[in-house]
């Protein structure tokens, strides 16, 4: 009994330390957003009174509605398409096995390891010939079939009970209906996790949007913030205000979707 209490306490202590360490830089960022650049450089770690000034500077320097729209559009459309295309493929690779497809899958895993920088120039040539440079399509299209997410869904599908599929087949459901009405609801927490991961990757995507988006009004918040950090005299207060804003959408997505995990914990399939 005492051992159980001790162990429980230990878990709390370790989790608290981990949580503190994880969140600390985030708080630092929020505190920074309320301070002037000079105070931040001096290492001030208490809440300051410059929040409104920082906000004002940020909104005059950055066309926020437009830039956040770009980011949101790219991230949302990209996430939805990625989830559809890649979960279908992950399901397909796992549920319908064939030797040939196994080989393709192994090849895909290898392709996953090619650094993006190495493919950027030929990819740019393709989009430039298709007259798609500086469009959302050019940013989204290469990310939609994500080997990584296909891989993820395939691995998660291994835990999907096959009896469910067999039962559905006996009930006369087509393979697509099985995917839609049986697989999808059961795999909710997998989809929730994938949504967070894909949205975050799209929202923070840097190198490819940098190259393919040309005009200032098409850029994403990640690109704009990066440029602001490298000014000769960066305004850190304004910058941190911007980063807080830029972090909010991914946080919100996480907060909303994490309920899915909790639901799953109760074991209830609504």
């Amino acid at each position: 009994m005492t051992w159980a209490v001790f162990r429980r306490a230990l878990v709390y202590v370790l989790l608290s330390i981990a949580a503190f360490v994880s969140v600390f830089p985030f708080f630092w960022m929020i505190i920074g957003a309320t301070n002037t650049s000079a105070d931040i450089i001096r290492g001030k770690t208490s809440i300051g009174g410059a929040l409104l000034t920082n906000a004002a500077t940020f909104f005059t320097q950055v066309d926020a509605p437009r830039i956040f729209f770009n980011s949101a559009f790219i991230a949302i459309v990209g996430t939805v398409l990625t989830l559809i295309i890649s979960s279908l493929a992950g399901y397909g690779f796992e549920m319908f096995r064939s030797r040939f497809r196994e080989r393709i899958f192994a090849l895909l895993l290898l392709l996953l390891s090619i650094p993006f920088a190495a493919m950027m120039v030929p990819l740019f040539v393709m989009f430039s010939q298709a007259k798609l440079v500086n469009t959302y399509v050019a940013v989204i299209a290469p990310t939609v079939a994500s080997i990584f997410i296909i891989f993820y869904f395939r691995q998660a599908t291994k835990a999907f009970p096959r009896e469910l599929r067999d039962a559905a087949r006996i009930d006369g459901l087509s393979e697509w209906q099985i995917f839609l009405y049986v697989y999808l609801p059961v795999m909710r927490s997998t989809y929730a996790a994938a949504t967070i991961i894909v949205f975050m990757a799209n929202w923070n995507n840097y190198l490819w949007p940098l190259i393919v988006l040309q005009t200032a009004d098409n850029k994403t918040i990640t690109l704009i913030l990066s440029a602001l950090t490298s000014a000769y005299t960066p305004d850190y207060g304004m910058l941190l205000f911007g980063t807080v804003l830029a972090t909010l959408p991914t946080l919100v997505i996480f907060f909303v979707l994490q309920r899915r995990f909790v639901e799953g914990m109760l074991g209830a399939v609504k």
């Binding site: 878990v11 370790l14 989790l15 981990a18 949580a19 994880s22 969140v23 830089p25 985030f26 630092w28 290492g43 295309i85 279908l88 493929a89 397909g92 690779f93 549920m95 319908f96 064939s98 497809r101 393709i104 895909l108 290898l110 392709l111 996953l112 390891s113 650094p115 920088a117 190495a118 120039v121 030929p122 990819l123 393709m126 290469p142 939609v144 079939a145 080997i147 891989f151 993820y152 998660a156 291994k158 835990a159 393979e175 059961v186 795999m187 927490s189 997998t190 996790a193 967070i196 991961i197 975050m200 929202w203 950090t229 941190l240 980063t243 830029a246 972090t247 946080l251 996480f254 995990f261």
Partner: protein, 297 residues
């Protein structure tokens, strides 16, 4: 007869599900990859390229920066991936306990690092690792060190700082995969085991780990690839130099520099990229092999 028809139906369905993804991947990966493979046999600068056979591969073996980058990348991989995977697994199992209080709070807190934008993260970490930053202040207050560590002025500590930063950023991320997988596990198995008096560690070892194996394998492969492609942290923390003394230069950073910073040397940077592919191929193969062996045992 019926068997054959069923077989064919399976085949058609199998292709139908993977077709959209394969078409897109073919479109956006095959050409760039063939191009980069062809490039790795080209030598020259900028637009003046000519066929060089294996010249680039020979150049690799004599290039001190490449060898340093390879060594650093391996150091990061060997030290960082196991630490992160174990931490993530422990957090996930702890947080999966339905009787734990503040679960949502802990889960969110530990996940927060990976949603923080790269810009925020690097700005914050650079200032925390500054000579009189909070990390040195804390360590000195605890009397763990006598004077400030020059984190990015010392080849050893620079590596340590990078490892701390990546672990901070990606542990919660991997944890989410484990949590999601734990949710998909039927809880009645645990209940049965508990009623049978199986102790917690044994439930973890003989129930949790085997059932998480696909996801553990997944995160290990992905983390391996991620580490071998490590770029963001070193680029942002060292102003793109991979310093001090090339102690944090990685293969990906070197490829970036060869392509964009130095006199463009495409053929050579493509060759370095294919080294990563080769290394990942070997490592993934080993990891699959290990996973398969365990399954047989």
């Amino acid at each position: 007869m019926a068997q054959a028809r069923l077989e064919r139906k399976e085949q058609i369905n199998g292709w139908a599900f993977v077709a959209p993804a394969l078409v897109l991947l073919g479109l956006f990966m095959i050409y760039p990859i063939v191009w980069s493979l062809w490039m790795s046999f080209q030598v020259g600068k900028g637009m003046n390229l000519s066929f060089g056979g294996f010249a680039n591969i020979i150049r690799l073996t004599k290039d001190p920066v490449f060898l340093r980058a390879l060594g650093n990348t391996f150091t990061f991989f060997i030290v960082q991936v196991p630490i992160m995977i174990v931490l993530a697994l422990l957090f996930a199992v702890a947080l999966n306990d339905a009787t734990l209080r503040f679960r949502g709070l802990f889960r969110t807190a530990i996940f927060v690092p990976c949603v923080t934008s790269l810009i925020a993260y690097s700005t914050v970490f650079k200032s925390m690792f500054a000579t009189d930053g909070i990390i040195n202040q804390t360590l000195m207050a605890l009397h763990l060190i006598s004077g400030p560590i020059s984190w990015f002025g010392d080849p050893f500590w620079a590596k340590v700082a990078i490892i701390i930063a990546i672990t901070w950023r990606w542990t919660g991320y991997n944890m989410i995969f484990y949590l999601a997988a734990l949710q998909n596990i039927d809880r009645s198995i645990y209940e049965a085991a508990r009623i049978d008096g199986v102790p917690a560690w044994a439930r973890f070892r003989y129930l949790t780990i085997p059932m998480l194996k696909p996801v553990i394998l997944f995160t290990t492969v992905v983390s391996t690839i991620g580490t071998l492609q490590l770029f963001d942290e070193v680029y942002n923390f060292t102003a793109g130099t991979g310093g001090p003394s090339d102690s944090t230069v990685t293969l990906s950073l070197y490829i970036y520099n060869l392509t964009f910073k130095f006199m463009p040397s495409f053929g050579y940077s493509a060759t370095v990229s294919w080294v990563i592919v080769l290394v990942v191929a070997v490592l993934s193969f080993l990891q699959f092999l290990v996973a398969r062996d365990r399954r047989r045992a």
